[in-house]
């Protein structure tokens, strides 16, 4: 019988993991447009995302607000800023808690401490979606090619986020700043959406050079 040697993994898991759009990093750089019609896209890897479902009117909401450092958002579009987290409204009883600094397991255990047994759900969904950052003066025009939402600043204010579609892909679209958006597609759609954005950005390269 042949003995199989399994090499021990000496690297930390965090060094080995691959983000859903990592293979597009080079293509994103090449597709970037500078100048008056500028638009760039890059992946923001491995943001922590925890799903929080808690019924309307539940007493847990106050305790969760204390843990998060912010009241749960009250209406569609609202994004609340708390201690090292933001809380995005997804539905009257569903939120997405996003963090750049707190690990998913840690955040989930903090939140679980705030909810009554069986009355709410806290799930670490960090691997469910990735984050594409689209920015530049032409960012809105790129999104408008494939998003049914009204993206005019009159209705889509900075600091709000909505669930919608971009190029047929269901996403969360978060306007972080003027001309700067975070797009959160599910991992398996990241490749398609990344390439869709590259394609939608191409015309601005021509405009910029002309």
């Amino acid at each position: 019988m042949v003995e199989t040697m399994i090499e021990p993994i000496d690297k930390k898991t965090s060094d080995l993991r691959v983000s859903p759009a990592q293979h597009l990093h080079g293509d994103f750089l090449v597709a970037g447009v500078t100048g008056a019609f500028g638009v760039r896209v890059r992946e923001e890897q491995f943001l922590t995302m925890v799903s929080l479902r808690v019924p309307v009117g539940s007493a847990d909401r106050d305790r969760l607000a204390q843990i998060l450092g912010a009241e749960l958002p009250a209406r569609c579009g609202e994004v609340a800023t708390g201690h090292d987290v933001v809380v995005m409204w997804l539905s009257p009883d569903e939120y997405l808690v996003i963090s750049q600094s707190v690990a998913g397991s840690t955040l989930a255990s903090y939140l679980r401490a705030g909810v009554s047994e069986g009355a709410a759900a806290v799930v670490d969904l960090s691997a469910n979606r990735t984050t594409l950052r689209l920015e530049g003066p032409s960012a809105q025009a790129v999104l408008e090619k494939g998003c049914p939402l009204d993206l005019h600043p009159r209705t889509f204010a900075t600091g709000t986020a909505f669930a919608t579609n971009i190029g047929r892909v269901p996403v969360l679209l978060w306007k972080v700043d003027t001309d700067s958006y975070r797009i959160l597609p599910r991992a398996s759609y990241a490749d398609y959406l990344g390439r869709w954005l590259i394609d939608a950005m191409a015309e601005f390269k021509v405009l910029g050079s002309g």
Binding site: R75, C76, L90, S91, P92, E94, P148, A163
Partner: protein, 96 residues
């Protein structure tokens, strides 16, 4: 394309929604006592209204909640939007 006002998210394009057929079709109190015909009627038989029709929609690319709509099947004009569990609103000149 019609614009549908989700009770929670506001007006969005029809493409963000999915259709759920006739509203206010109650689940039988005790399905086991139904005859095959009665069960079949519950499952498959629906009104085919010309005019104002109460129907269900789900905001599938948004909040993923179901709600009810009164829509004119001739003009596609939406006369009212109301939440699940709320009674069907009465409209002017509505015979129901």
């Amino acid at each position: 394309m019609i614009l549908i006002s989700c009770p929670d998210c506001g007006a969005r394009d029809e493409t963000e929604f999915h259709y759920g057929g006739q509203a206010h079709v109650p689940y039988p109190e005790d399905p086991s006592t139904l005859s095959d015909e009665e069960w079949g009627r519950y499952l498959f038989y629906r009104e085919n209204t010309k005019g104002i029709f109460a129907e269900r929609w789900v905001h599938s690319s948004g909040c993923r909640k179901w709600f009810n709509v009164l829509r004119d099947t001739v003009t596609y004009r939406i006369a009212a939007v109301y939440r699940n569990g709320e009674p069907r609103p009465t409209l002017d000149g509505d015979s129901q």
